[in-house]
Amino acid sequence: MRLMAVVAVIMLSAGAVFFALDMTALVQWAAERQREFQNAMAGAIRGLRTGQPGAWSALLAAAVAYGFVHAVGPGHGKYLIGGLGLGSSVSTTRLVTIALLSSLAQALWAVTLVYGGFSLLSYTAHQLTAFTETVLAPISYLAVALVGLMLFWRGLRSFLSRDTSWRRQDHGHCSGCGHAHAPAPEDVAKLTSLSDTVALIASVAIRPCTGAIFLLIIAWQMDIKLAGAVATIAMGLGTAGLTTMVAVSSVAARGVTLASAKGLGTVSTALSALQAVSGVLIIWFSMLLFGVAVRV
């Protein structure tokens, strides 16, 4: 019964919040700042071409700021990191590291893709942007959805396992029978293996940021390749700034939930349920983005 109550609370809360929040103002604000910062990048690029002093630092500062505000918009990395923070037992340090490495890998992949595409494959700018949007984006969304599926499966498995142990305990049939009935919170989706970490980073990094692709195309054509590459990495750091905030917030939020669940003696249950729900949300958002991407 308590299991049903926990699941119901999570699902109802998710529904209530989802239908109550209106983020239009925030998105509008982010779009306006993005416009300012991309204009600042353009000014700095022109300054670099004409040898203006301070153009390098202006470009890097604008790129960091652009990366941050651009990340406020839709992005697969953000909700993956948020979902993981909420629905796994990954530590703050580890999740922040994953967020940072994902953003940096995304930036480095953008540099490789654009500069490699121009120099080795003789791609045009239009081919590069089309490849990013029509091939890499759907692959990335599917990869993120697979991570969500993994979270859901692990959460469901531990949730069902916990249910069994309760029934046994409630009937007094199983004291000291010598095996673990349910995973402890620390056993649920630690995501500590190298393969888990690489999969998470790769699922985010596969799809480079459109703004980074644009910046690199401009840098290549204007023959400021080094500045373009460094600014793209700076942009990745800006993106990491926001995803890091998401990482810290989501792990803190999980802590609050589990602290409350302790009073009910349902820590394992709450974590398992959160993990499964987070997995479903990640799958859902990924597939929404996938649907949009394949329709382009």
Binding site: R2, A5, V6, V9, I10, S13, A16, V17, F18, F19, L21, D22, M23, T24, V27, A31, Q34, R35, Q38, N39, M41, A42, G43, R46, A71, V72, G73, P74, K78, Y79, G82, G83, T124, A125, T129, D170, G211, F214, I217, I218, Q221, M222, S249, S250, A253, R254, V256, T257, S260, A261, G263, L264, A270, L274, S278, L281, F285, L288, G291, V292
Partner: protein, 233 residues
Amino acid sequence: MTFNKKRGRRSLATSAQSMLRVLAGVSIMLVGAHHVSAHPHAFVDGGVDFVLTQQDGQPVLSALHVTWLLDEFETLYMLSAAEIGLNQDGNLSEPDRSAFVKQMHEWLGSFAGSTHVSVGSESKPLRRAENIVVDIVEGRLKITFDRAFASPVKVVGEKIDVGFYEQTYFYAYSVTQSARVRGAEAQCETQTIPFNDELPALQASLRKLGREEVPEDTDVGRLFADWIVLQCA
């Protein structure tokens, strides 16, 4: 194991409140995913002029004269993508200008457009862009062109609405110039209605946008659009 029902209900309520706070936070983090398509990458200022001609002694709307002023970053991207650079004066050389206009002809042919015209509930289709002119104005690419109507539109006694937007909202368009009426004599007035997210009807649409409808909505740009209205007596 015994279960204290009163304590359990209190704990459950506390747990529910905490989870609500958690999910609120998560939803805020996931804001972008709410607005799957609401994510402009380029910003374009401009507007339209109305071109009237005479048909059977009556003024009719025969074309729109469209002006785009791209943001500085998009300007550099479009020129770079076209493999065109600016000269020492920060402008286009004549050969580059001609080459870019040629590319724009092709690109605009496949572009769904930034102007969406309707009279009442009936949309009025436009032909592809003609008379394309490009220039650089203070580091920004200015593009003007004409789009003729597939069939001239009666204007006397009608209210003609022009939505200045791009459907996917990849490009965020804003009306920044007053609409003018050119050509045939007519007593017409134009009005610009800027995007206002405080309008109740629009709020309702945006709430819908922020929920499950967005990914299915291929016309999301309309919800953020500025509008231009033409009315002739």
